[in-house]
Amino acid sequence: MSVEFCGLELAHPIINASGTFDAIAARRAFGDQLIERFPFAAFVSKTVTLEPRQGNPPPRLWEVAGGLINSIGLPNKGLAGYLEQDLPELACLGVPLIVNVMGFSRAEVAHLVRAVSEREEVSALELNVSCPNVETGLMMGADPGEIAALLHRVRPLTDKPLIVKLTPSATDVPAVALAAFRAGADAVSLINTVRGMALDPRTGEPWLGGTTGGVSGPAIRPIALAQVHAVAEAVPIPIVAMGGVQRGRDAHDLMRAGASLVAVGTESFRDPAAGLRIAAQLADLTSTVRP
C-alpha cells in the first residue's frame, strides 16, 4: 500500500514521530535486522538544534495511566554533529529521511533549514515550533501570526517539503495550521505531546527534572483524533497524524479523520518493531472490502 506524500514515494503510511526512535542506537542493540526490517516508511530525526544540547536533568520519565510524561529536553549533537556524524549513517537506512529542526529565533531556524536542506540525503524537513521565540517571547507555534512570520522567513530557503509540527497547546490549532498553509507549508504534523506534570509521591515535589513534561501514549489519542479532524477541515495540505497510535485501527481512525501519514511514537518504546506491526494491521484494514 505505497503512498505518495509531498512528492515522496513511501512504501506504506507509517513513519516514526520525531524523538521516539534513534535508528543508530537501535542498530547497536539489534544489529542489521533493524535495516532488513526497518519499521518505518520514512525516518524522522530527533530534533536538531544549532548548538549541542545535553537535555534536561533526570528523572525524565513518569508512567501515567495509558502513557507517560517525558521531560527529555531535546538532547542532540547540534547541527554540525548531526550533519557530520549522524546523517551519513542514517542515509544507509534505505528510507527517505525527514529532519526535524528547532531554533530559538527565526534567524536560527533559517540557518538550520538552509544547512539541512543543502544535504542530498535529506528528503524533507519538519519544523518543531513548540518552543519559545526568544525575540518575541511567544511560542512559535502558538499563534497564527508567529507561524506566518517564521514561514515567510524560511520558506524561500528550501525547495524540499516543509512540514510544520503543530503544538497542541495553541488556542486555535486549525488557525495555526491555516496560517502555516497560507505561508507555504507543504504539510502539517500533529499532535506534539501535551503538557503534564507528576509529583513525587514521597515528597510532593515535582518528579521530573524539568518540572513539567509532555504526555504521550494512548492517553492522548482522543485529543489527537479531534485535532486532526479539525485541522483536516481547515487546510488542503497533507497531514501527518500522531498521538497514542498502538494498533492499525488507531492509524486507520486518524486517516479517516484526514491524515495522509501516521506516525508511531510511544508504542515503539513498548515494542521496537511496532511500526511494522501497525503497518501490516493497517494494510489488512484498508484492504478489507466493507459491505
Binding site: 542506537a25 539489534f30 545535553q54 536533568p57 508512567e63 521496537p272 518493531a273
Partner: protein, 269 residues
C-alpha cells in the same frame, strides 16, 4: 562497545513462563526463550506480561520494565522480581503457561577482572540478580557479600553460592550493612580485589565512594527508569564525568570511576 555475542532479535517476542518459584520476598520467573541469544552477565531485558499490560483496557502497567537477567540455563531465562509497584505486581502473578513479552538481551554486561585482581560480588536486595549469573560464569570461587532488609528478603541469598549475608535487622548473618563487610575486605586486600556491585542507590553510592577512596576498580550495575531499553526514549540518562549517558546503551554496568555519584535520582522505585 560490544553487545553480547549476538544482538537482540529486533522487536519483542513471546516467551512462555515455565516456572515460578518464591524465595521469601522474591519471585523467580523462568521463561523459555528459544529465539534469543545467550545473554552476558549484567545484560538486561525489557519485560511485560502478554495480557493485561496496557494497550487494551488496562491503564497501568503501560511500559515494559527492565530486569537484569538472573540466570540463563539451556534456553531458559530466569528473572528475579520483587512486587513493589504495578509492573512487578503484574509480573509476579504470572503462572507457568502464561506468556511474557520480552526484548533483549540489551546493554553491555560485566567484564572480567583486571590482571592480578579477584572478583568480589557485592549485592543488595533484588540487586543480587546480575551477580548470580556473573558468579555462574566466574565460577564458585567468586565470593559474594549480600545485604538484605530482613529475614524474608534474605531468602534471596540462596540464589548465589555460599554468600556472606548481612541484614539491616540482624535476623540473618551480620547485623548491619553489606558495605561494612566490604570495608573489612578492603582493609585486608584492597590491592587484590575488583568489585562488582548491584543494589539500591544508597548502597551503590557507598560502594562507589569506598572504591574511589582506596583506588579499587569497581563495576556497578545501575538502575534508572527506562521506557524502551534500546536508546530510543533518552529517558534513562545518568550523569557521568563525560556528561549524561543513556544507561540502556552505555550501561547498565558502568565503571565506578566515571560516576560522580551512584545515587541515581529516581532509581530504586
Amino acid at each position: 562497545m560490544t553487545i553480547g555475542s549476538r544482538p537482540a532479535p529486533f522487536g519483542r517476542r513471546a516467551a512462555t513462563v515455565t516456572a515460578r518459584e518464591t524465595y521469601g520476598a522474591y519471585v523467580v520467573l523462568r521463561c523459555h526463550d528459544p529465539g534469543g541469544p545467550q545473554p552476558r552477565a549484567g545484560q538486561f531485558y525489557m519485560l511485560a506480561a502478554a495480557e493485561r499490560w496496557g494497550g487494551g483496557e488496562a491503564e497501568r502497567p503501560f511500559l515494559p520494565r527492565a530486569f537484569s537477567v538472573l540466570r540463563a540455563l539451556e534456553r531458559d531465562l530466569h528473572f528475579l522480581l520483587e512486587d513493589v509497584g504495578p509492573g512487578t505486581s503484574r509480573l509476579t502473578e504470572l503462572a507457568p503457561g502464561e506468556d511474557l513479552l520480552l526484548v533483549g538481551p540489551l546493554g553491555n554486561g560485566f567484564t572480567g577482572p583486571r590482571e592480578g585482581r579477584t572478583p568480589l560480588l557485592v549485592g543488595g536486595g533484588v540487586g543480587v540478580a546480575p551477580l548470580a549469573i556473573w558468579q555462574d560464569q566466574l565460577g564458585r570461587a567468586a565470593r559474594a557479600l549480600l545485604g538484605f532488609r530482613d529475614r524474608v528478603h534474605a531468602d534471596g541469598a540462596a540464589l548465589l553460592h555460599d554468600p556472606t549475608i548481612a541484614t539491616d535487622d540482624g535476623s540473618v548473618g551480620y547485623h548491619g550493612l553489606v558495605t561494612d563487610l566490604l570495608g573489612e575486605e578492603l582493609d585486608v586486600r584492597a590491592d587484590q580485589i575488583e568489585v562488582y556491585a548491584c543494589g539500591p542507590p544508597a548502597m551503590l553510592e557507598a560502594v562507589r565512594a569506598m572504591c574511589a577512596e582506596r583506588a579499587v576498580p569497581g563495576q556497578l550495575a545501575l538502575e534508572s527508569g527506562m521506557a524502551c531499553g534500546f536508546g530510543a526514549c533518552f529517558g534513562c540518562v545518568v550523569p557521568t564525568v563525560h556528561g549524561y549517558i543513556r544507561l540502556c546503551l552505555e550501561g547498565p554496568v558502568l565503571d565506578a570511576q566515571v560516576l560522580p555519584t551512584a545515587a541515581i535520582v529516581g532509581a530504586g522505585h
